[in-house]
C-alpha cells in the first residue's frame, strides 16, 4: 500500500496533467472552428473545378488522345500513394486510422505483385510507416512551419506528383486522408486522383454543349494539373479539420479520465488516512488499558 505522501504526490501530478489536457482541448476547439470554416469555404472551388472537368471530359470525342492525366497510362503496374497525416501527435486515432487504411491498401497492392511507391505528407505518417515500408518511401514532405493549410503548400505537393507522373514514375496515384464528418467521426479516405476517377463524383453533367476557347484538349491539359493541386488542397483542409476534431475529443476523454482518477485516488487517500488514525487510536487506548 502506497504511503500517504505518495498518494498526495500522485493526486497532484494527475491534477496537473488534467490541466494540460484541458488546455489542449480548448486550443483544439478554437482551432477546429477555424479549420472547419476554411474547409467549408474551400469546398465551392473544388466542386466547381470538378464540374468543369466533368463537363469537359464528357465533351471530348477522341478518348484515345485524351490527356494522360485523365485517361491514365494504360498500365497499373506502379502505384504511388500519397499518405497525408499530421505533424503533431496527441490527437487520438487520427494518424493511426489513416495509416491502417493505407497499410491494408499497400498489402493488397504488394500481394498483387505490383510496385509501390509512397510519399508521406506530415511527419507522423512517416514515423509510423518507415519501419515497415521504409524502402518504399520516396519522398517525405512536412509543413511544420505553416500554421494553416494553404494552397501554396498543396500546390508544391501537386507539382511533385505531376513531375513524377510526367517522368512516368508511376501509373496510378491515390491519396489518403481523413474526411471530416463531425468532431467524433472522421472517415479515412482513399481517393484516386490519377487517372481521374469520374465514377466517384455525382453525375451532374449537363447535356448542354459548351463553346471552348482555346480547344478542349488545351484547356484540359491546363486544367488537370490544377485539379490535382486542388484535390490535394481539399484533402489538406479536411485533414486539418479532422486533426483538430480528433484532438479535441481525445483531450476531452483524457480530461475526464484524469478526473475519475483523481476521485479514486482521493478516496484511497482518505481511507488510508482514516486507517492510520484508527490504528493510532487503538494503540493509544490499548496502551492506556495496560497501565
Amino acid at each position: 500500500m502506497a504511503s500517504l505522501d505518495d498518494l498526495k504526490k500522485r493526486i497532484a501530478s494527475v491534477k496537473s496533467t488534467q490541466k494540460i489536457t484541458k488546455a489542449m482541448k480548448m486550443v483544439a476547439a478554437a482551432k477546429l472552428r477555424k479549420a472547419q470554416e476554411s474547409a467549408e469555404k474551400g469546398r465551392p472551388y473544388s466542386e466547381k473545378m470538378n464540374n468543369v472537368i466533368l463537363n469537359l471530359s464528357s465533351g471530348i470525342s477522341d478518348k484515345e488522345n485524351a490527356p494522360k492525366l485523365l485517361s491514365g497510362t494504360g498500365n497499373d503496374k506502379v502505384h504511388l500513394c500519397v499518405v497525408m497525416t499530421s505533424d503533431r501527435g496527441l490527437c487520438g486515432g487520427f494518424n493511426s486510422n489513416i495509416i491502417k487504411k493505407a497499410k491494408s491498401y499497400f498489402s493488397k497492392i504488394l500481394s498483387e505483385g505490383k510496385e509501390l511507391k509512397i510519399i508521406t505528407v506530415g511527419s507522423k505518417g512517416n514515423d509510423q510507416l518507415k519501419r515497415m515500408y521504409g524502402d518504399k518511401i520516396i519522398e517525405n514532405i512536412s509543413f511544420k512551419e505553416s500554421k494553416n493549410a494553404n494552397y501554396f503548400d498543396a500546390d508544391k505537393v501537386g507539382k511533385i506528383v505531376i513531375d513524377k507522373f510526367e517522368n512516368s514514375e508511376f501509373d496510378i496515384c491515390t491519396i489518403f486522408y481523413n474526411q471530416f464528418k463531425n468532431v467524433i467521426t472522421q472517415i479515412p479516405q482513399a481517393q484516386q486522383i490519377i487517372p481521374l476517377n469520374s465514377e466517384d463524383s455525382e453525375d451532374n453533367t449537363s447535356e448542354e454543349s459548351y463553346e471552348f476557347e482555346p480547344d478542349e484538349d488545351e484547356i484540359l491539359s491546363n486544367l488537370l494539373p490544377k485539379n490535382i493541386s486542388t484535390q490535394i488542397f481539399k484533402a489538406m483542409l479536411e485533414n486539418s479539420a479532422s486533426e483538430q476534431g480528433s484532438r479535441m475529443s481525445a483531450m476531452d476523454n483524457a480530461t475526464r479520465n484524469a478526473g475519475e482518477m483523481v476521485d479514486k485516488l482521493t478516496i484511497q487517500y482518505n481511507r488510508s488516512r482514516q486507517a492510520a488514525i484508527t490504528k493510532e487510536l487503538i494503540e493509544i487506548i490499548s496502551g492506556a488499558e495496560s497501565l
Binding site: 469555404k41 468543369v52 494552397y151 498543396a154 448542354e208 463553346e211 471552348f212 476557347e213 484547356i219 490544377k226
Partner: protein, 130 residues
C-alpha cells in the same frame, strides 16, 4: 427584362466575390479579351494574367488576376482563380513586389514557351497598373 446576370469568383480558400446585378464582365481570356453580356453562349475558357472588369449597378470593380478558368452557363458566370487582387488594394509596393517576382521568374532559363508568354503578359499588365 433585366439585363443582369450573376457572377461568382472563387479561390481555393473561399468564395471571393458573389454579385447578382452584373451587366457586363470583361475577362482576359487566353486568346484575347472577352466581354460577357447576359445570355452569352455557354463557354469555358481559361485566363491569362490580366484585369477583370466588372460593370454592375452597385458600382464598377476591377481585379487583377494571374490565372484562372472561366465558365459561363445559364447566366451564371463562375471564375476559378488561385490568385486575385482588388485593384484598389494594390498599392505601389505591392505592384513593385509582384513585378519583381515576375521578372525574376522570366529570368530563369529553363521555362517553356507557354509559361514565358504568360510571364511576359504578367509583366506587361503589372506595368500598366500604376
Amino acid at each position: 427584362m433585366s439585363e443582369e446576370f450573376k457572377i461568382e469568383i472563387v479561390n481555393p480558400e473561399k468564395s471571393f466575390l458573389v454579385k447578382d446585378d452584373v451587366s457586363e464582365v470583361v475577362v482576359p481570356a487566353y486568346e484575347g479579351e472577352m466581354g460577357i453580356l447576359k445570355d452569352h453562349i455557354s463557354i469555358i475558357s481559361f485566363l491569362k494574367p490580366g484585369i477583370i472588369k466588372i460593370l454592375s449597378k452597385s458600382g464598377d470593380e476591377s481585379y487583377y488576376i494571374e490565372d484562372g478558368i472561366v465558365e459561363f452557363k445559364n447566366n451564371n458566370l463562375s471564375i476559378l482563380t488561385s490568385s486575385i487582387f482588388n485593384i484598389a488594394d494594390i498599392d505601389k509596393f505591392k505592384q513593385q513586389d509582384l513585378l519583381k517576382q515576375a521578372e525574376e521568374e522570366s529570368g530563369k532559363e529553363e521555362i517553356s514557351d507557354q509559361s514565358r508568354y504568360l510571364i511576359d503578359q504578367k509583366i506587361e499588365v503589372l506595368k500598366t497598373l500604376n
